[in-house]
């Protein structure tokens, strides 16, 4: 009896140990590839605050090529032309870009930085929605780095130390299937008309999706609200839901093709790129920026302070903010942050500028305190308004 008990004990311990080892093995941290890329001047790439400080572009390129790869995250290939941007970067510098979970959200990007601190799987660069750029900077997650064209970025769209700056953005627009909808709406006021019953959709839930949030914000601006007051926008969608015009389904290219969401409120760069995609499928997708509620929002680029490939991360930034990179965003219908200065000096690609949906005036942006305030209001009041 005793002997058998011992055996059982040993077997049990062995099994448990094996199970535990298997479970913990995949969670083990790998050591970070030490930052060996020091330039001739002895400046480390991980602390370089500009290409010049590192000893010039050539030194940066050489150091980045030595690292050989770049960890990107949450860059969908069909979003703002990121697919082509990644391809061109790889071809130009012979550096492999690993784009992890292309459809991830900003919150996932931040948690990838914090949870993989010191690992070589951590993202090198992130593309964040507002206000994740500001909150990430205040948590000390980003490295200060100024690209060559930093001074040309409008003051309202960058962190003074270069912890983050806007890269591209767009306006909330109304996409409309001209074959199914007789007269396409051009304003938020239009959308209230009974003829649009069961046709108007957002691309998700405004408490989760940045573009749906922008849609509610733009509707607030159209209805006497403001950057500090989003309630009129919530009420507007409540009214739209009651009249049966607004359907809460998440609009995707698939639902548009199916005819389920013939009117979709979304960023203009997404709607405009869908128009190209739909043409081949016989859908005539018209895109207008509503004149009564113009709301623009830009995304921001930032470098992870503990980037496993610090030189490649900085080279990526230089590429995005070069004329080539900015024009590639433009090709994807996104409005690059340097568009005003590039229009002035004639380096913006005119064919693509002509394709952008028309807007008037220059965009203004809410302060992050405004955003925090309205998001709290939205979280509490949205469900009630549309249920």
């Amino acid at each position: 009896m005793r002997v058998r008990d011992h055996r059982r004990l040993i077997a049990a311990v062995a099994l448990s140990t094996a199970a535990l080892t298997a479970l913990t093995a995949c969670g083990a941290k790998q050591d970070n590839a030490a930052d060996t890329s020091a330039s001739a001047g002895g400046v480390k790439a991980s602390t370089a605050t500009s290409a010049a400080a590192f000893g010039g572009m050539d030194a940066l390129v050489a150091a980045a090529q030595k690292e050989g790869s770049l960890n990107a995250i949450a860059l969908p290939p069909d979003w703002a032309n990121y697919g082509e941007i990644i391809k061109q970067f790889e071809a130009k510098y012979k550096i492999k870009v690993k784009d992890e979970t292309p459809d991830a959200a900003s919150a996932d990007e931040i948690s990838a930085i914090t949870s993989r601190k010191g690992q070589d799987r951590a993202p090198d660069v992130v593309d964040l929605g507002i206000p994740f750029d500001r909150s990430g900077a205040s948590q000390g997650l980003f490295a200060p780095y100024k690209v060559a064209s930093f001074d040309k970025i409008p003051t309202a769209q960058k962190d003074p130390n270069g912890l983050w700056y806007n890269d591209y953005g767009g306006y909330i627009s109304i996409g409309c299937d001209a074959k199914r909808v007789k007269v396409c709406p051009t304003t938020f006021a239009d959308l209230l008309k009974p003829e649009y019953k069961g046709q108007v959709a957002l691309n998700g839930n405004p408490n989760k999706s940045g573009s749906a949030f922008g849609g509610v914000y733009a509707a607030a601006l159209a209805n006497k609200g403001g950057f500090t007051d989003i309630q009129p926008g919530i009420d507007y969608f409540g009214k739209l839901k009651k009249s049966g015009n607004f359907i809460p389904v998440e609009s995707t290219p698939a639902t548009v093709e199916k005819g389920e969401t013939p009117i979709s409120i979304d960023w203009d760069y997404l709607n405009a790129s869908y128009a190209d995609e739909f043409k081949s499928k016989g859908v005539d997708w018209k895109v207008t920026v509503p004149t009564d509620g113009q709301y623009a929002q830009y995304y921001s680029q930032a470098v992870n302070k503990d980037a496993p490939h610090p030189a490649a991360a900085r080279l990526w930034m230089e590429f995005l903010y070069s004329t080539t990179g900015q024009n590639l965003f433009l090709k994807g219908y996104a409005r690059p942050v340097l568009l005003p200065s590039m229009t002035a000096d004639g380096s913006a690609d005119k064919t693509f500028v002509a394709k952008l949906p028309q807007v008037t005036g220059t965009p203004s942006f809410p302060a992050s305190s405004d955003l925090d305030k309205v998001k709290g209001v939205l979280a509490q009041n949205w469900d009630k308004a549309v249920s």
């Binding site: 099994l15 989760k208 389904v249 389920e260 469900d383 549309v386 249920s387």
Partner: protein
């Protein structure tokens, strides 16, 4: 024993049940055999639960972690409370309907004499019970959406039908809950021995009396367990609802996603963890009601 077929969490062996007393005489080391299971459960289940509860009760401010009850109280007020009640209502209703319909379909399949029907229903149930997420949502959009095929043919729109509402979600959830119930009921119904029915008839019982005094009591553990299983499946479902109703039907899983992995809400992670803790408590309460009932009803089988 039909209750063995339940994937729901098993209770302790019934006191005085066949093998309980024999086991106790075996040395005190016998628990060692369950050690691997216990370790596995502690790592894969205990750790995450601990993390959720810890996160729900703390807040990170300026790098320091403080204990607080604020997250839990936030999660039990306003829109968050509405989402909890919304989820419980939807899950309880769909689990109830799913239980009844699933049991009836299973009974029809078991009593039919066609082997082919039985095989095909069981296979289809196995597939459909695992059909969910965005593909399921889109399948329904294409059939029962506003411009869906069925909606157009049957003019459901004018009859007040809307897929993007509470009733719409009920229909979709039943689409995968009923097959799940069929899967767990068939073995139990197979266990209803024809001899019992014959004996009841010989003793002069009507069909109604047979079901009231024999059939239902014997099936009770399965029905109860099935309800708990369906409730849990519906309660934890997320992707389908996220694609269809956004925030217009408040559900706790959608709220957790908003707070945890969105592009809009910032710094709400601990509220999301508090909501998860609330979900665990609700699931625990359901189990607390279920286990005594289960124990009571399995008594019929011994």
């Amino acid at each position: 024993m039909p209750s063995d077929t339940l994937p729901a969490a098993p209770g302790k062996p019934v006191p005085g049940a066949a093998d309980g007393s024999r086991r106790r005489r075996r040395g005190s080391r016998s628990w060692l055999g369950t050690l691997p299971l216990l370790v596995f459960a502690a790592v894969c289940f205990g750790l995450p639960v601990g993390f959720v509860v810890y996160g729900a009760l703390t807040t990170d401010q300026g790098g320091a972690t403080h204990a607080t009850g604020a997250n839990l109280s936030t999660s039990l007020h306003g829109a968050y409370l509405g989402s909890l009640t919304g989820s419980v209502e939807l899950s309880a209703l769909t689990a109830l309907i799913g239980c009844v319909l699933g049991m009836l379909i299973a009974q029809a399949v078991v009593t039919s004499r066609r082997g082919a029907l039985r095989e095909s229903v069981l296979t289809a149930s196995g597939v459909l019970a695992n059909f969910g997420g965005v593909p399921l949502a889109f399948a329904f959009v294409a059939t029962l959406g506003i411009s869906g095929v069925v909606t157009q043919i049957a003019h459901l729109g004018s009859a007040g039908w809307s897929l993007y509402s509470f009733p719409g979600l009920v229909v979709i959830y039943l689409y995968f809950l009923i097959p799940l119930m069929v899967l767990v009921s068939v073995p139990a119904l197979d266990g209803l021995r024809p001899q019992w029915r014959e004996a009841a008839q010989n003793a002069g019982a009507t069909t109604g009396q047979f079901w009231r005094h024999v059939g239902i009591p014997v099936l009770a553990p399965t029905l109860l367990g099935g309800f708990v299983l369906l409730f849990g499946s519906a309660f934890a479902a997320y992707a389908t609802a996220a694609a269809l109703v956004g925030g217009s039907v408040p559900l706790v899983t959608l709220k957790i996603a908003d707070a945890l992995s969105g592009n809009v809400q910032v710094g709400q992670e601990n509220v999301a963890l508090a909501l998860s803790a609330d979900m665990i408590v609700i699931a625990g309460l359901v189990m607390a009601v279920y286990l005594p009932l289960q124990r009571r009803s399995t008594r019929w089988l011994h």
